[in-house]
Symmetry: C2
Subunit: 165 residues, 2 copies
């Protein structure tokens, strides 16, 4: 069965059940640093990587572009740690697909203008769906021992439509 | 006393004594993820934030541009944690000034084409010196209790010259 999945704007409130929106302009905690030459938008994501002896890993993902419409047929989840993605170019837009659980209807959000996300530990999500030319993302997730990736194939194919990027 | 400080290219080897170069192209550990649609350049920085009950913080710094020549008259160090800076736009170049200790001659490196750095815990460095129009940096450093910033005024003024950006 194929069902359509509408793409929503990515906002802090809409995404709160799944993770953190990483974005300066909408951040609440901000203060001047470096003798007034920089503003610190502070603590934008809950980096949750310490369980079972884990530690934070900082990496770069270079993502190939995916075309819309895009069929979501699987989801994954990292039971032991959060995972943050921040585009390293403000022109790099991507679609974020998340679900409360693999049987629930997923939601799709369009991340653009440099918006990043941090999936909370255990959030079901689709791997990167980079648009246009694709590109590089800074990733902060968990390193260490333990089983930290579950994957499910969905009964329903969710077709993510064209998005105005 | 004013002394000139030449700007060097930023390479992994030259910077190794002070911290990590965060850059995909020169990274050693890389492998395909997400069913072959992305390359993971893995574990690019030693995120060292756990001492004294600390934890990683993910933030954005919005840095005003600084003009060259730029006079370095102080350095700071974070004795309890590492601190990573990654520009969120590949066009955002910055000068990285580090020193083995506050009495040693500092070194200046030009970070460009998206290069980021991670200062190791305790590395003496100058706050962000963003060039051109300035811009946003993703920062991963340490949150938690404890005294985590030392600052020194230098006896010598180090004048960082014009750099070809």
């Amino acid at each position: 069965m194929i069902r359509p999945l509408a793409v929503e704007p990515l906002t802090r409130a809409a995404f709160a059940a799944y993770g953190d929106l990483i974005e300066a302009d909408s951040a609440r905690d901000r203060y001047m640093v470096n003798a007034g030459t920089a503003t610190r938008f502070d603590d934008l994501a809950h980096i949750d990587t310490a369980s079972h002896g884990g530690h934070p890993l900082l990496s770069i993902f270079r993502a190939a572009p995916r075309a819309l419409p895009f069929d979501v047929v699987m989801l994954e989840s990292h039971p032991l740690g959060s995972q943050a993605f921040v585009p390293l170019d403000p022109a790099l837009a991507f679609v974020v697909v998340v679900a409360a659980d693999p049987d629930a209807a997923p939601r799709a959000f369009l991340a653009r203008h440099g918006q990043g996300v941090n999936y909370h530990r255990g959030t079901w999500h689709h791997p990167l769906i980079a648009l246009e030319r694709g590109g590089d993302f800074l990733v902060v997730d968990r390193g260490g021992e333990g089983h930290n990736c579950d994957e499910v194939t969905l009964d329903t194919t969710w077709r993510v439509g064209h998005a105005r990027v």
